[in-house]
């Protein structure tokens, strides 16, 4: 589903160049549930944004469902984002002046689906997320967990192939985090590939595969319980080294 070959990415900060991704090779198959871990500044978000076609990369190749994603026109990029990808952000990124139903229905607007049909579908997804009674509410009338479920509903409504989540539970308490994570797992069971960037061991433990990023490189790609445990330990060491 996702294939990255020797991806490089630098940010230009005035005269200096900050080399953030230093040759990422990664293959994620359809239906995988993957988490990306790493210390702050290791390039997790950068990587996820490149996968999500929200940002471009400098070097290497990125194939999304066998299509090379490079130098796309904005129109093409919009098409792939809409059809193939769903996003869940730490800060929810809901449109504040649209109610829950309208927020969820928005991706379908860009598919030119008629309003009635759109809203009907949005209500279905709100129902699934247990948000049906809040359909007419504005985002700021919802709790953090509700907002994130709303964002998930919005990511799901186009039936994307891949859902990308950047610290989806970062702004939630642990109980709500677990609920949200449970939801994500269910969605993954329906066959949607899912990539979650997280700091939290509890979250990563629930994924099938943990990719450990360190300083712009893949330090570890863990599938077995032992290797996962190893990742957690090295991460704790990294944290300690910083302090």
């Amino acid at each position: 589903m996702i294939r990255l070959e020797n991806i490089h990415k630098s940010y230009r900060m005035g005269k200096n160049k900050l080399h953030v991704l230093k040759g990422i090779d990664l293959h994620i198959k359809q239906g995988e549930l993957v988490s990306i871990m790493g210390s702050s500044g290791s390039g997790k978000s950068t990587l996820l944004n490149i996968i999500g076609i929200l940002d471009n990369y400098d070097e290497g190749k990125y194939f999304l469902d066998k299509t090379l994603i490079k130098g796309l026109s904005e129109k093409k990029a919009a098409f792939y984002r809409n059809k193939m990808l769903g996003f869940v952000f730490q800060s929810f990124n809901l449109i504040p002046f649209k109610n829950a139903m309208e927020n969820v229905a928005l991706p379908l607007y860009y598919q030119k689906i008629p309003r009635k049909k759109r809203n009907k579908k949005a209500l279905e997804y709100l129902e699934k997320m247990g948000l049906r009674p809040w359909a007419e509410h504005l985002p700021n009338e919802l709790s953090g967990g509700q907002k994130q479920r709303l964002a998930i509903a919005r990511a799901l409504i186009t039936r994307p192939k891949v859902i990308l989540a950047d610290e989806p539970t970062g702004a939630l308490d642990s109980k709500t985090s677990m609920e949200v994570m449970e939801l994500m797992r269910q969605i993954n069971h329906e066959g949607i590939t899912m990539i979650i960037v997280t700091h939290e061991q509890d979250i990563a433990e629930q994924t099938d595969r943990i990719i450990h990023l360190k300083d712009g490189r893949i330090e570890n790609d863990a599938i077995s319980t032992e290797t996962k445990q190893k990742v957690f330990e090295t991460l704790v060491e990294e944290e300690a080294a910083v302090v």
Partner: protein, 411 residues
Amino acid sequence: MIIDRDKWQEIFSTINKNKLRTFLTGFSVAWGIFMLIILLGSGQGLQNGVQHQFANDATNSLWIYQGLTTKPYQGMNAGRKIQFTNADYIRTKNLDSRINHISGRSRVGSKTISYKNNYGSYSIRAVDPAHRFIENTIITKGRFLNRMDLEHFSKVVVIGNAVDKDLFKHGANPIGKYVKIGDIPFEVIGVFKAAGGNGEIRKVFIPVSTAQRVFNGGNRLDQIAFTVGNATLAQTKQIEKEVRYEFARAHHFDPADRRAIHISNNLADYEKVMNLFLGIRIFIWIIGIGTIIAGIVGVSNIMMIVVKERTKEIGIRKALGATPRSIIGLILLESVVITSLAGYLGLMAGVGLLELVNKYMPPTDFFRNPQANLSIALIAMALLVIAGAIAGFIPAKNAASIKPIDALRDE
């Protein structure tokens, strides 16, 4: 349809949720259009007012007044008074075929006019029957002076509407009644008002021949006025020159002596005033265009702020699959809808105010019937809408082309 219901929905929900911003954008447009309408309207009102004053006099009339010579000529000293007589009247009448109505006038001044116990002091105009074509007069009762009155030295009088009201109380019919001018009875043959409108006219007309005989005028005239049909300004100037030359010859003064007689050319005055109005109109246009530009700048600024404010929203929309085109369309359409609606409101408010002024403010000599040229207002509005669209387009295009991740990072 280019704009489907969804787009409208989208636009009205954003407008609805951003009322202050919408109000600010709308206000600068509405204000611009409103001011333009008021300016254009007042300009027109001023012009109508002054034009109306000219309605009193035929705009093609020439008035000859007597003066004092300022240059010695043929052995005569300067400072000699030129006195007109009936001979001047006849001479002028035959001077040029384009002269169609002509009247001599003899000065009588103001006199007391009485009817029974009512009396007042009114200005007496001793004129030729043709006078009513020179100074547009409208007969409301009876008739004006005619040739017979002139030839028979008839003691008849045409009175102004104010004189009628003063002397003939309770709507009594003045026609055929005798009033006394000084001690001399004159028969009232008509009542008139000025062509200009409802002004109170406190003067009366009597035949110039009668005046000369009754009020010791001899064959003297004080003024000669005539109209020149539809002669152009250049032709009128030519006639004026002929008149001056003929009078100089007859009265022995230097044709170059501008003070010996005065000729006032109503057409030239009229054109002068019209030129003044051209100036005023240009001035109004400059201010109007300034107002419109201010409106455009206002709209541009606000559109820029709108786009800035919505950067994050644009990022979200892009992440969800919005094409640059749909983003640009959204912002442009919003700007166009707001500016058109606001422009329309400003237009209505401006036109409404002018209508109120029309209805409740009595017309004066300087101001009447203000009216804005609606097509100009509509063009101005279209201009603002287009400007708003362009003002929205550039920032919208920039916003639509930044990377979604950069837009999303915007706080």
